[in-house]
Every structure is written in structure tokens, then in C-alpha cells.
Assembly symmetry: C2
């Protein structure tokens, strides 16, 4: 989304002055059923729509909605962003100073994903929705938010991978369910706190790579991969977490632009996943209806494209194509009256569910104010989120730092991230209350003298002499660098995933000084091989985009105030991986013909550092404590599932909880993320190397102490997907594996006949 | 050059305060021979160097030179830029306001190349050098300028193609000779006006494409292509135009980083081309010595890389690698005392030749002041340069516009270039005295109402409604768009050369209004096919990067105040060309195995619009007037050449001038560019389609009038290159062709035995 963020200020100006809510007391709609809080959502929305002319309805289908002045229906901006905090976007207005001049800015999802802590995600999302409601009450924001980005991060080059929690679908599903609950105020709340929007539906994982723009990319995806991987997070969003809105994407899927694709929008989303609440609507990505015409050339006329999109079930157009071309499309008879009525009804049902037509007294959200924004607790949560995500990749024992108290320790900070401020926010960010850089955080340490050695970028123009001289006079060297949104972000994929020759050269030069040298690898993953193999590089931390208090989080880890326990939420690929597979190749499985070596830890085994990797300041041992049976009958597993509690078979629990006892065998108290994988020979070949089926973050396990992770795995997480995309529980051999690398294994078999847990709807004939 | 332009302000600050010239009257050097204006340049430089310690010498080898305070030798910044006017760069300081707050900003070379007017180029370069000297006299600039970029523009994706005059070597050679004459103040002036620097030596044509950075690119070039194409402009620079300085490049050539390559720096440049004046020095590109280590991994130690570069003949390092590592390399015995002495001697010889150690009275340049900067004449020249370059690509008769005088004509201007200001300068620009956009220029027209319809970028965020509404109310629609430095510039190659789907969609939508619609295609070439085939697009002009008065130039062409006569200086390739050949493939000739369809008009025949293409507001006919003989003996041609006048055989004139009579058969007075090509079956196969051998711009040929172009072609321009890179005059069939498409042909044969005009030095054994 957002082709040109900079220009959104103009849109914003046009909506900020509008009335906040319709006047249901004295306005023209006061006697319309839409204002009757005792009526059903559908009845209320239908009554509103019945009062509209077609011209008015067409005007309401764009993100910048003019409302209907004659009815006192306010203009409305549907486009708000809150990827990791209330964010600058067309519908969000920050004040120049004072109240509402900032909001809490959490780490980017990729770092929060590394925490593997669903409760943390729910807490973060709750803060975000509270702050968003406060902004709304001040007429500084709408209530529809186009977050989360939940496309799985399957290729390390993807510019928007930082916006996601990672590459694994089980992880994404757990994460996003917690997130939506926090954003929307529960699963079926009386009043929606916000409308969340899962995007980008579907198979949207490419920005601009080797000349192919996302607007024109036609993703060729097998039904197997589609169901098993690309659709999974959206299934959780729509079917299980009851997200109110879904965004269709720029790309085409197997030849059809997603916003015009009845198969995915009707057959899968609405029919198969029962995404049929009154308020459920689909929005296009910004200009993606235009892209279907101008880039995909999907239909011969603009009218046909807007009609096909509306008919397929895209109710809202971020853009002006609907507003410009639906009228003539209707004149040409390309869609029915009921189609436009249904679209507008769905859109206003969502606003009704948000309490838009209700008295303020009907929900406590309307009382939230700036006192609820950027609170000290929210700030502490932002710090905690960053600390929990940071991953220790290498440590020769230098960490945690032992700083002397009898004299000052001099620490040199060098690199593009050393004094990072807004950079720490990645993309889709708001105005943070503060931005504490690594340099700032080191400067706060007692008995430490911090020297800034510059960005260390290019020898001439950025001054390696400054870096070298800083390092010369330091006791400890910290090199903080990596990628920024200049390397990878919306609209910009990477071509390379290596540390540049200049950066390796600089670190190598600094490392020859024989002093402790710690690399903070920031932003997206880069192949750490040159630093892992350099024995003079003492330690490596990965810190992603750590948000408003990122520097503090990093320094708290460095000093041991907080022990690191994050895990890589993505595979760290070797640099040459980008030469082995086209970014446009959507296949997950290895393919000898195309040369695709496989994607994600499930199918690729040559990582520099694998998914789930993360070191600690202590050591942990793991063992299964309650596994006894070594064989289970599939029919029994299925029949014992209560179909009222579990309306979908894939959600059924496995025979029993898996209990894993974790003992801290070292000397430092630390969190520990229990990761549980399954592997084994079952289902269609090829078999994945393993797949994640459960995780839990345990907190503050003391030296010598133990805690138990109780993991509820589902039948669905044990399932495999056949070529038709059906989720099937297969008989065969299974192994449960704890941790990366594996620390404990427990084997069992499933017996009997295979059972289809989810019959996947097949693509239409085309 | 310039990895990070933004950071150059810091460097600048450190040098601006230094003394301007050494004090040869009362300073410590007053009695050193360097201050003796009667001594030879070499003797003076050697005397200075003899007074230096080695430590001082090493410090003098970086672009940011500290000078030698104990000797009163001022610090000096070697890095100035003036690609198309005195430009912001480390050595150039513009004042915040008033005097020296601006300098004339001419069009980018790619547009000036399209003028095919060598006298224009000499006039422009003379203004640039005059303004640079004025800045120098105010201690706002040094005297060494790292311009021109004369790598031939062989691939349409190249980000720096805009910095060059085009793709053809004959054209580049003629252009650059005129340019250097203007910059340096003649071919062998008493005092060099400036030091010009031909860059980037050699085969540097790639920025960052599909993950390959210019710093690590190893160009694989055949000796044939190297001699015939990549080396040709540099041969003119060094051998014929006597440029004072050459810059080696980031890339490697056949495995060896160019700055460390004795073959090209010694065997070709100095030995073969006799580039041996005392002041001739080679500078590295910025950080390209570091790149040889950090990216090319050319040698195992930094010391070895700096030593190899110094020994190969790179005297100056833009960067700090020499300053940091030459001392230890010398300690290790990796180069001799004479090597560093020679390097510093050459550098200071250049300054001596600039009059750096001379009294101000010895040259009028020292009297130039701000009164000589941005004069009205210079402004008129900048406008003329733009007008001469603009190329008419399509015209259904709408141009020149017939504006009514009885009522206002409403003109809508739409697109990213409609209100362009700094964008018109491209890259490597200074602060212009004014920047007249197309919108501004239309607003100056009498009886015209201009409406700005926005940038027309993306439907939502940039507002197509604004564009459409402007077009609706206009009599004439002008769509001004194309590429900018956001699409292609230093460090950034293009992946695509098509108009984006959204832009084609917008133009198509606007064209359906049935009004005159003129496309101004700006920046680099884009495949015009969608607009050529759209009959509702009335006309297309290509305007490149037209500089400070670009809008006026475009509007003068549109209204017919000036008739267009520019010619495409590059091939306009079809969009799919980028899928047919890798940007890293340096081969010019077609190759069935690799799929390379050939490069430049010499080897590629499927252009959307060919090199040399350009329409007029009138029609011209062309005929040869003095061609009689149809056969020439090669031995006679060679033996009749006066080797005192023509020290190199390739410069020998052909038997006689070629006279081409041009008649304006239409009704509008117009310039006309006579382009003369040769084709035919002679020399090694494959034969090129044709090659340029002469051009001349004729001015203001009245309706019905004739003028004659007298073209002096050389034996070298008739030569072909064999696989060893020798330039050979071959017997065989020749055709001279006038214009594109061909309007007149004259055939002749060369008889006798082939003669080698230039014996190319062969690569060293590696």
C-alpha cells in the first residue's frame, strides 16, 4: 500500500475538518433506522443505503469518502495505518506539538515476531487500539486501520518482510490472532474497538525486482502452496480471529488480479471461511483497481475492471477508480443494483459495528483521551517488546559486558545505526515520543565514556578515519549497521543479502585492533558469515527495527540488564541464495529443474543461521515430561474432538498437551522460548524438513531452576497438504523436536486411515 | 564518482578556509624553484617534492590534501565537479546569497549531445571554465574538475547515461575534443584554464544492476570491443585533446581493477597515446582504491592494493586509502622512492600548469570575477543549448502550435515534469540563477491560460481527478513526464525502459477527450511505442534534462519560436530489449548463444526510434555535390597524409571533403543536422549496420533555401577494428549515407592492401 506516502498530507487536509460522527440526535438521519441502536447491524445499514441515490453510493466507494452532506453523513477517510503504533497516514493527523503530537512507536513486527510471545503481541495491539481510539475521539483518526501485513516472509529480498512477524505460518497464525484480538477489542465484541485489515490477500510478496513491479506481478502458485502457505494466515484472520476487513493486493494470482478474483474473494474467503458477518468488507490496495487495468490489462475497459472487482466482492477502492468509473459501468449494465447496494451496506455495517452511529455512552472507548496515549506503561512495553525480540547470534563470552566500576570504560560506536533515530522505526511509523539511539543509550551508562565514530559508510565521504580513531581510543568497539528502509521497504526489494564489501572491509580493519568488537546487525537479515568466521568479531546481536526505545533495549542486552532470548523469525540465508532462485518463483519446494533450492526452513537446509536460532547468556536443557503413548489412531483423534468447541477439524487438539521441562543449567537468569517442531515421514512427498507446531516463551528462569512449557498442538498443525490443497492428517511416523538445534525428540506414529481436516475449494475453470 | 554526495559538505568545510595560493613572494617556498616561473614545469615540481618528507608526500596523495603547513603549501581540495556548469562538490562553495550564490546550469550532456553542434559545446565549456575561474578567484573552488564523463552510453539502463553525450564513439570524440578545449583554455595553453578529467577509465557502464555493484563489477571486454568502442573517447581525450587528467574507475577490466591495471594506465594511456606531459595525472574514482580491496579482493592486503595502484600509475586517490596505507606499504618495500616522488611531482606539475605558483599577473584568468558568472549571454547560451538538443519524435501537424490571438487558449500541463524545477538539472548540478519550468514558460505566453493538472503520478495519491479536470477544461493538453534521477542516476541503473502502466493508462484516458495532446518525454529514453501507436497522441518531443531554462526551451519549440532540429544521440530501444541482454554483457556484437541482440545502432536494428532520428517543422532534401571518384587506393590515401600535421594515421583526412547540399523544401526556416554514416562490406565480419563518420549542424536554413555541409572525414573513421584491436583500413565496398532514415547514398571502393592505422597494444600476460 501507499505508492507515495509523501503526498498523503493533501488527502488528509481534506478530511480532517469534517464532523466526527453523524448527528443521530438532531441530524437528517435521526429518524433513519441507521440511528436506531436496537436494530440489527444489517437492518441499520440497509436503511441508510435505502436513503441514498446511486450517485451517492458510488461516491462512497472510495477511501476518501465525501459522505452525503444532504443527509448529514460525514465525509470519512477509510485509510489509517498502525503497523506498530498509530502511524502517519491519510486518516491520522498528529498535532504539531502538545497533546496528540505523538504516539507509542513499537518495534517493527519482524522484531516482535522474534519474541515468540503472543501475550506481548496482544498487549501491544491493545495499546495501539487504545491510542487510536483516543486519536479518533480528538477527530484525529478514523477507525478503520489497514494493518496487519500478514503475508508470510518467504524470500529474504522482500522489501516489506520487516512488516511481518516472519516466515512460518504457524507462527504468523498465532501472532495474528493475538494481534487482531487486541486491535478489535476481542473476538466478538459488542462494539468493535477498531476495524483491523489483514493484507495483502493473497500471494503478494514482491515489490520491484528485476523490473517486475508489484502492480504487474502475476504470482503463479500451486493450489498446494496456496492452501498450505500463502492462505494460512488469512484463514486465521478471517475464519478464526474474525478480522473485520481484508485487503486484496496488487498482484494477480494465476492470471487474475486478486481484487477481481471470485475464487479467492467468494469461494475461499466468504464461502469456505464463513467470513459473512455484516461488517466484513474487502478493500482494494491503493490503486490496485487501476493496476488491474493499467498494469494487468485484465479487461478491455476501465468499466469492466471496476465492475468485475465490485462483483467479485471488493467493496472499497483505495483510490478513485470506483468513484470515476462505476457510474458508467452501471450505465453499461455491467453490474446489478444489488451489487452496489451490498457493497455500501457492508461498508456502513462496519462503521455501525464501530459505534459510529451510536451515542458516546454506549462504549468506554469514546472516553479515551490523550491521557491514554504514550503512557509510561506503554513506553515500558515498547522497550520490553524490543528486548524480547533481540537475538544473540554469536558470543565468545564478551557478553554480557563486564564494565568496570573503578574507572571509565570507553566504548566506540560506529556505523549507520550507531546514532539511528527515526531509522529505528522502519516504515509505516508515527511520531514517537522519543527515539533513543544506541549511542544515546550507551551515554546513559554509568562509568562509560561513549565515542561516536561516524556512520563508517564509505571511506572518503563518510570518513573511516573518524571510525578508526574512535576505535583506537576505545576499550570496546560496537559496530551498529545493517539495512534501513533505503535498502528494503515498500516498493523496494533487495538484490543482495550480503554485508557490502566496504562494510566487511571496515569491520575487518577495526577487528585487527585486537579489542572486543560487537556487531549489532540491524534491520533485515544479512548473511553473517564474514563476521561469524572472523574470530576477532566477539559477538553479534540482531536487533531488527527496534522502535522508539531501541537503543536502550540493545544496551540493556549488551550489559546483561536483560538476558537475550529472541529467536530468528526467518531463515538467515547465505548470500548466494539470491542467485539460486528468482524472487518471482513462488514455489516453496525445491525443484531441480528450476534450480529453486527450496524456501523457508521447511524446505531449505543450508542456512547460515536457521529459523528459530538464538543464543542465551546461560544454557538450557529440555526434556519431554508427559509423553507416554507412542501410537495414536487417527479416527479416535478426530472423533474425540468436540465440534461445538472446535467447528473446524484442523483446530481440534491433539491427544494431550505436550509438556516440556526446561532447566536453566547455567548461571544467569533468562527467558527461554520453547519451540516445538514436527518432522517425519507422513503424507505426500517430498517431506518438509520440519514444521513448527507450538511455541511458548517462558520468563525469568533462574539459574538452576526449571519451568514447564505446556503446548497445545492441534491436529491441523500435524496435517500435511495434498496437491488439491486439502489439509490431511496422514498415518505415518512423527517426531516432535524441541529447540534449534534440536535438544529433545519424541517419536510417535499415527495409525489408521488418513482424514481430510479441511476440504479446500478448487479454483474455478478459467 | 561520489558515493554519497550529501555528505560532501563536511569535506568542503575543512578546505574552504585555506589560503588560496602559496605565497611565492614571502612564504617559505619563495626561494624554492617551484616559485621560479622561468623554470620548466618539471624542474619546478621536482624542486618542491625534493623539499618534502615522505610523510608529507603520502599525505598529499588524497583528494582532501592537507598541504604542507611548514612550507606554506596550502591545503587543497582536488575534487571539483562541473558536468554541465559549476556544480556543488567538495571543492565548490556557493554563497548563501548574492555574489557566487549561483552559476549557469546548462542542460545535461545527453541533451547537448543531441544538438550535434561542436561549436556549441566549446562555447558552453568556455563559459563553465570562466565561471569556475571566477569561483576560484573568490576562493570558492579549486582548479581540478572531474568532468567529463565520456564512457559511451551503450545500455539504455545505465544510470549515468544522462551524463554523457550519447552512444556513438565518433560523436563522443568530436564532442569531447570541443569540450576539453573549452574547459582547459585550448589544446596547449600557456596556462591551463582548468584541469579537465576524462572519466571513467575504462569500461565503466554499470551502477547497480541485479545486485552487482559498480564497485565489484568485473567487465569482461574483448580487445576488439575495448579498442573499437570503450577506449575511443579516452584516446581522443588523452592523445588528441591533451586532457590533463584521467580518472580510473570502480570496475575491474578482465579481472584487474582499473586503478591497478598497468596495461591500461601505462601501456595504453601513457605509452601508446603519448600522454606524457608533466602535468598528466590519474586520479582514482572516490574510494575506488578501497574497492579494489574491499570489493574486488584484488590483493591480500590493503598495503599491496595501494602499492599496486600507485605503481600502475594512479597518482591521486579520491579517498583516504593512500593516506592511510601508503606509509606501511612503503615500510614493507612494496614500492620505490621514485614512485611516490613521481606521483607527487605529477600532481604538483598540474597545479603549476594552472598557474598556482605564479603571480596573478601572468594570466587574465585571475582577473575573472562574479561579473563574469551567469551573464545574460551565458543564460542565452543555456537556453540555446536546450533548444538545439530537443528532438521532435512525432507530429501529426499540431506543432508548431497555432495559438489564437483573438481569445485565450487554455493549456493544461500535467505530469511529473510539468512543474519541474531542480529536476531539469539531472545530477551533478550547481545552484542555478533560475529554473524555468514548462508550466512557468507556458504562463509567460500571451493569450494563454495555463492550468496545472498535477503530477498525474498515481491515481489515488497524486490525483488523476486533478489531471482529468484540468484536461477537461483545456484546449490543448501537454503531458510532461518521463524519468528523473529517482529512476536513473549515479548508483542506480534502470530495470525497465517502458512507460509505466499507470502513465500509459493516464495518457490513454486523457487522449480519449479528443483534444490535441502533446507528450513531452523527459529525462532518459523510454520506449515511445504506446504513444506512437496512439493516434490521439498528437506529438512527442524528447527534452532530456534541459537545465535552468528548460521550460522556455520546450515552449519555444512548441510555439515554433524555435524550430526543432535535435537528433536522438542514443538508440530508443523497445521495452523488451532489457530482457534480451544482461546489463553486464559488454559485447557489442550480436551473439546467438547468449541471446545478445547487439548494442547501439551499429549492431542493433530493431529500435523503436533509431540513433540520429529527429523530425522538423519542415522538410529537407539532401544530395552529395562533390563526389566523383568511385575508387581510391589505400596506399595512396595513406601516403598522401602529412605526418607532421597528422601524427597518427587514423587522423589523416580522406581524399577530399564530403560536401552535402541540404535544401529546405518546406515552409519553415529551420536548423538541420547533417549526419554522415558509412556502411559496406569491408573488414572483419560481422559488418556493422553503419557507423557515423561526420556531422555538422547547419543553422537557419530558410524555406526554399539551401546550405552545404562540408564534412572532413578521416581515414580512422573509415577503419574497422580487428580482433587484436588494431584499427585497419580495409579494401572493399563502402557506402556513405546521409541522414536517418537515409536520404542520399554514395558508393565507392577502396582498393589495394589493408593498412594498419593504429597498432593496438596487447594485454599483458596474466
Amino acid at each position: 500500500m501507499v505508492r507515495l506516502v509523501a503526498s498523503t498530507q493533501a488527502l488528509l487536509a481534506s478530511t480532517a475538518a469534517a464532523a466526527l460522527f453523524p448527528d443521530c440526535q438532531n441530524g437528517p438521519l435521526a429518524n433513519n433506522t441507521v440511528c436506531d441502536t436496537t436494530a440489527s447491524v444489517s437492518a441499520r445499514a440497509q436503511a441508510l443505503v435505502a436513503a441514498l441515490t446511486n450517485e451517492e453510493k458510488f461516491n462512497l466507494t472510495g477511501n476518501t469518502s465525501p459522505g452525503v452532506p444532504r443527509l448529514g453523513l460525514p465525509s470519512y477517510q477509510w485509510w489509517q495505518e498502525a503497523l506498530h503504533g498509530v502511524a502517519s497516514s491519510p486518516g491520522v493527523t498528529f498535532a504539531a506539538s502538545g497533546n496528540y503530537s505523538h504516539a507509542t512507536s513499537f518495534p517493527q513486527p519482524i522484531l516482535m515476531g522474534a519474541a515468540f510471545d503472543d501475550a506481548l503481541i496482544n498487549a501491544v495491539a491493545t495499546v495501539v487500539s487504545t491510542e487510536a481510539r483516543a486519536f479518533n475521539n480528538a477527530n484525529r483518526s478514523g477507525l478503520d486501520f489497514w494493518t496487519p501485513n500478514i503475508n508470510p516472509y518467504k524470500d529474504p529480498r522482500w522489501g516489506r518482510g520487516q512488516e511481518t512477524p516472519g516466515e512460518d505460518t504457524f507462527h504468523l497464525k498465532s501472532y495474528v490472532a493475538s494481534l487482531i484480538d487486541g486491535l478489535q477489542g476481542g473476538k466478538n465484541p459488542q462494539t468493535l474497538k477498531l476495524v483491523a485489515t489483514c493484507k495483502h490477500f493473497v500471494a503478494y510478496d514482491e515489490e520491484s525486482w528485476h523490473g517486475t513491479l508489484r502492480y504487474e506481478f502475476d504470482a503463479q502458485v500451486t493450489t498446494q502452496d496456496l492452501s498450505e502457505y500463502y492462505m494460512q494466515p488469512f484463514q486465521t484472520c478471517a475464519r478464526d480471529a474474525k478480522v473485520a476487513s481484508i485487503m486484496c493486493s496488487y498482484n494477480a494470482l494465476n492470471g487474475i488480479p486478486t481484487c477481481a478474483d471470485q475464487y479467492i474473494l467468494q469461494d475461499v474467503l466468504r464461502d469456505h471461511w464463513n467470513w459473512t458477518a455484516a461488517e466484513n468488507y474487502v478493500t482494494s490496495d491503493c490503486d490496485s483497481i487501476e493496476s488491474a487495468y493499467g498494469y494487468h490489462h485484465y479487461a478491455p475497459t476501465r468499466e469492466q475492471v471496476v465492475a468485475d472487482s465490485l462483483v467479485a466482492g471488493t467493496e472499497l477502492n483505495c483510490g478513485t477508480y470506483y468513484q470515476s468509473h462505476l457510474p458508467s459501468a452501471f450505465s453499461q449494465g455491467l453490474f446489478n443494483q444489488s451489487t452496489i447496494d451490498q457493497a455500501v451496506t457492508r461498508l456502513y455495517s462496519a462503521l455501525i459495528r464501530l459505534g459510529y452511529f451510536n451515542p458516546a455512552s454506549t462504549t468506554p472507548y469514546r472516553s479515551l483521551s490523550f491521557a491514554d496515549v504514550a503512557t509510561p506503561d506503554a513506553g515500558a512495553l515498547a522497550l520490553k517488546a524490543a528486548e524480547e525480540g533481540i537475538v544473540l547470534l554469536k558470543n565468545d563470552g564478551i557478553l554480557p559486558l563486564s564494565l568496570r566500576t573503578d574507572r571509565n570504560t570507553t566504548i566506540a560506536l560506529i556505523g549507520g545505526w550507531a546514532n539511528a533515530s527515526q531509522t529505528m522505526q522502519g516504515n509505516y511509523f508515527g511520531i514517537a515520543p522519543y527515539l533513543h539511539s544506541p549511542l544515546y543509550a550507551v551515554q546513559q551508562l554509568p562509568n562509560v565514556r561513549a565515542i561516536y565514530g561516524g556512520t563508517g559508510g564509505d571511506p572518503t565521504t563518510d570518513g573511516w578515519d573518524e571510525a578508526y580513531n574512535a576505535a583506537l581510543s576505545a576499550d570496546i568497539i560496537i559496530y551498529a549497521d545493517g539495512t534501513t528502509t533505503s535498502d528494503a521497504e515498500e516498493g523496494l526489494d533487495r538484490n543482495t543479502i550480503n554485508w557490502s564489501g566496504a562494510k566487511v572491509d571496515l569491520v575487518s580493519w577495526l577487528s585487527e585492533l585486537g579489542k572486543p568488537l560487537i556487531v549489532l546487525s540491524m534491520g533485515d537479515q544479512l548473511d553473517s558469515a564474514p563476521f561469524l568466521s572472523n574470530q576477532n568479531v566477539s559477538a553479534i546481536l540482531w536487533g531488527g527495527y527496534p522502535g522508539q526505545d531501541g537503543g536502550t533495549a540493545l544496551v540493556n542486552i549488551l550489559t546483561g540488564k536483560t538476558a537475550p532470548a529472541g529467536r530468528l523469525p526467518v531463515t538467515q540465508y547465505p548470500a548466494n541464495y539470491v542467485n539460486e532462485v528468482s524472487m518471482l518463483d513462488m514455489n516453496l519446494r525445491p525443484n531441480d529443474t528450476s534450480g529453486n533450492p527450496g524456501r523457508t526452513y521447511k524446505w531449505y537446509d543450508n542456512a547460515t543461521l536457521p529459523f528459530g536460532y538464538g543464543m542465551h547468556y546461560t544454557n538450557f536443557s529440555a526434556r519431554f515430561t508427559n509423553m507416554s503413548s507412542e501410537s495414536y489412531n487417527i479416527a479416535s483423534l478426530v472423533s474425540s474432538c468436540d465440534n461445538k468447541t472446535y467447528p473446524y477439524l484442523d483446530l481440534c487438539p491433539f491427544a494431550h498437551q505436550v509438556a516440556i521441562n526446561i532447566t536453566n543449567t547455567g548461571t544467569v537468569s533468562s527467558d527461554y522460548v520453547a519451540l516445538l517442531f514436527v518432522s517425519g515421514q507422513h503424507g505426500p512427498q517430498p517431506y518438509p524438513l520440519k514444521q513448527l507446531v507450538g511455541y511458548e516463551r517462558l520468563f525469568s528462569i533462574g539459574a538452576g531452576a526449571s519451568q514447564t512449557a505446556n503446548l497445545n498442538i492441534t491436529l491441523g498443525s500435524l496435517a500435511r497438504f495434498d496437491e488439491q490443497g486439502n489439509a490431511v492428517l496422514y498415518p505415518g511416523d512423527y517426531s516432535l523436536l524441541v529447540d534449534v538445534p534440536t535438544q529433545a525428540t519424541w517419536n510417535f506414529t499415527l495409525t489408521g486411515s488418513e482424514v481430510v481436516l479441511d476440504h479446500w475449494p478448487q479454483p474455478r475453470n478459467r
